[in-house]
């Protein structure tokens, strides 16, 4: 009898715990909080669905000289990070010890342990990164699909290729030409100051500057000049992280309406910080990622491609960026190159 009551008590406690775990998720009605994917109820791929063979083939026409422009910052300890984030590399060199070589040919080896969160340096935000309450891309009630180790839905392994056309939008030149550039004294080269809202009109001006018309499946990168502070690490880390110029809501919605596949920038959030509405947290992240499946690439190195575009009067390129098939992850560092 006593056994029965103990079992019942354990069961009740377990049920109570499960119940409280359920309550612990910020549950919402995902059908009202998040837009449905235009690619169907099972879609976990998002905007990369738009990169069809025809899109990639058309983008290949951008390769005219074969010149490759790097667009990623070096992955190295000391770059701007938030809060408790860190990077640490540890080099294993055991076989270099005399006598530890392998075989009669005395082969040696080394390898690294890289400790870091995934959203550091030049990186992609996956669709498991941002939601409204527990509702993520394509009305996914994410609380049902998370474990202690990874996501069971919306992981990076679901993405298709990013082999598409890239477009650089030189916002520094736009603001300079309009006579409204207010730079930050910490920037060694001209930059848009923190809190500067990039509007739809600014984006239109940047496109017009190089006669670009956005196409479905394009990858758009904003050059704000703020990345200059990233390259000064660690001296300007606090300034870099403190605010940034970036997309306002109307501009982000306009880009989403053009059916682009990603928006990147030489900033840590792509969107303007502080936000237009100071009570909102990362509204552009929610707009692009959660509601439209459009990826966000942060801390992109844009100065070289912006300079190349200015000298050649051509702002488009073939985008080379691969994303590891890291199952169930929310983001990862990426390397990006613009092929001209």
């Amino acid at each position: 009898m006593r056994h029965v009551s103990i079992i019942a008590s354990v069961m009740l406690t377990t049920l109570g715990l499960l119940g409280s775990l359920g309550v612990a998720q910020a549950q919402g009605d995902c059908k009202t909080l998040v837009k449905a994917s235009p690619f169907g109820p099972d879609d976990q791929t998002g905007a990369t669905n738009r990169i069809t063979p025809a899109v990639t083939k058309a983008a290949a026409a951008e390769i005219q000289t074969g010149v490759v422009i790097p667009m990623a910052n070096n992955l190295v300890d000391g770059v701007p990070l938030f809060g408790t984030r860190f990077t640490k590399t540890i080099l294993t060199t055991a076989s270099l010890v005399p006598g530890a070589e392998y075989g009669k040919n005395k082969l040696t080896y080394m390898e690294d342990t890289y400790l870091s969160q995934s959203h550091v340096g030049t990186h992609i935000d996956g669709m498991g990164h941002i939601g409204i309450m527990d509702c993520y891309y394509n009305q996914t009630p994410m609380g049902k699909f998370v474990t202690q180790n990874n996501l069971k839905k919306l992981g990076l392994e679901n993405l298709k290729t990013f082999a598409t056309r890239g477009v650089i939008l030189d916002m520094v030149k736009v603001f300079q030409d309009a006579g409204k550039l207010k730079t930050n004294p910490a920037c060694k080269t001209p930059c848009l100051d923190g809190g500067t809202v990039i509007t739809e009109a600014d984006i239109q001006a940047a496109l017009k500057m190089y006669n670009v018309v956005l196409r479905e499946g394009d990858a758009v990168f904003l050059h704000t000049g703020w990345g200059d502070l990233f390259t000064q690490f660690p001296a300007q880390n606090a300034t870099y992280n403190g605010s940034e110029a970036g997309l306002g809501k109307a501009a982000a919605q306009w880009l989403a309406d053009q059916k682009v596949v990603l928006v990147g920038a030489d900033t840590w959030a792509v969107e303007v910080i502080p936000s237009e509405d100071t009570n909102e947290a990362f509204p552009i992240h929610a707009l692009l990622l959660t509601n439209n499946g459009i990826h966000i690439i942060e801390n992109v190195r844009t100065d070289l491609i912006a300079a190349e575009a200015a000298s050649s009067k051509r702002a488009t390129f073939f985008l080379s960026m691969t994303v590891p098939k890291a199952v169930g992850t929310t983001g990862t560092f990426v390397n990006i190159e613009a092929i001209r």
């Binding site: 809060g83 809190g195 606090a238 403190g242 840590w268 100071t278 990362f282 992240h285 942060e298």
Partner: protein, 332 residues
């Protein structure tokens, strides 16, 4: 009847045309700030003049405003000179934050003579609408919170209360905050009148004053109403040093970055720190003044009536709502 309809239609068309012109037009608005001297704590609440000015810069981003900024430097003479400059530049509206009553009367007179509307911030100017913190209401929230905590958590134990901070400050704002705390406490605990512990505005002295108080109240639960966040952190330190964490709680005033933190800063009020003896801090939102005040200015510029007095909507910022009220950006 028909003529009346026509008249109404003409008036409506004229009004909507005027509104459209006002909508399309850009305005020149001057903001004369109280004091931007680094290290100055505005109204003793831990906000800087630079934070207030920045809030105007950010809030004006989406508005048809060309802002002109002045720093009154806490000096009535400079405030008068800044107002004179604003008149000479023929601004469309002046937002004045100056604590000297005599200078404010003169500023009001000069601007009225120039036909320039004025919006007063925290300190009144005759005939000008006022946006102001409600120190009495804020203090009451703090007092009530402490009293409710004691009733819910220590129903059978004796509690004492203390108001800690620059209690001797002659500012009427500080007096209102103290009165509010006292009244809020009395609503919940009628027999617990608070002691006043004077820090003279120095956190180190606040720590010492509370340490002495704690030593005299060894078997009692202690409710601490700090007048500002720096005093609250000093109080926490005193309580921890005396190992009285289990029988003391603190409610603060301000909700400045000192307690809710910014990017990569320590967050005392944080969902991950729900056990803190600092239950919360009453928000004054001085770092958002621009977002509160500029919409009122826009209404004045459009010729609309605005209330004579618009108070801040104070709320208690605690671990439960801090991320909603002050969304952090250090997760990205």
């Amino acid at each position: 009847m028909k003529r009346r309809h026509v008249l109404i239609a003409i008036l409506a068309a004229a009004w909507s045309e005027r509104a459209a012109i006002a909508e399309a037009r850009r305005f020149r608005v001057a903001f004369a700030n109280l004091n931007e001297e680094p290290g100055t704590s505005i109204e003793g609440l831990g906000f800087s003049g630079a934070e207030i000015r920045r809030s105007f810069e950010l809030a004006s981003r989406g508005l048809p405003l060309d802002m002109i900024y002045y720093d009154n430097g806490g000096d009535p003479g400079r405030a008068l000179a800044n107002a004179a400059d604003a008149v000479s530049r023929n601004v469309d509206l002046l937002i004045e934050y100056n604590s000297d009553a005599e200078a404010n009367v003169e500023i009001g007179r000069r601007l009225k003579a120039a036909g320039i509307p004025v919006l007063a911030l925290n300190d009144p100017i005759p005939d000008a609408p006022l946006y102001t913190a409600d120190h009495l209401a804020a203090g009451t929230i703090a007092g009530r919170t402490l009293g409710q905590f004691a009733k819910e958590n220590w129903p059978d134990q004796t509690a004492v209360a203390a108001i800690l901070g620059d209690v001797a400050d002659p500012s009427p704002f500080v007096a209102a905050r103290i009165r509010g705390v006292t009244e809020g406490l009395r609503e919940e605990l009628p027999n617990v009148p608070p002691d006043l512990l004077d820090s003279a505005g120095h956190p180190v002295r606040a720590e010492g004053a509370l340490a002495k108080f704690l030593a005299s109240q060894t078997r009692r639960k202690v409710l601490v109403a700090a007048l500002d966040d720096a005093s609250a952190l000093a109080a926490k330190s005193a309580i921890e040093t005396a190992r009285r964490n289990n029988d003391c709680v603190i409610v603060s005033q301000g909700a400045s970055r000192l307690v809710h933190g910014g990017a990569s800063e320590k967050k005392e009020i944080d969902p991950a720190n729900r056990g803190s003896i600092i239950l919360g801090s009453v928000a004054y939102y001085m770092d958002r003044y621009g977002y509160e005040v500029l919409p009122i200015a826009m209404r004045m510029l459009r010729g609309e009536q605005v209330p004579a007095r618009t108070p801040t909507s104070h709320v208690l910022i605690s671990a439960k709502n801090v991320f909603r009220e002050y969304p952090p950006h250090d997760m990205n």
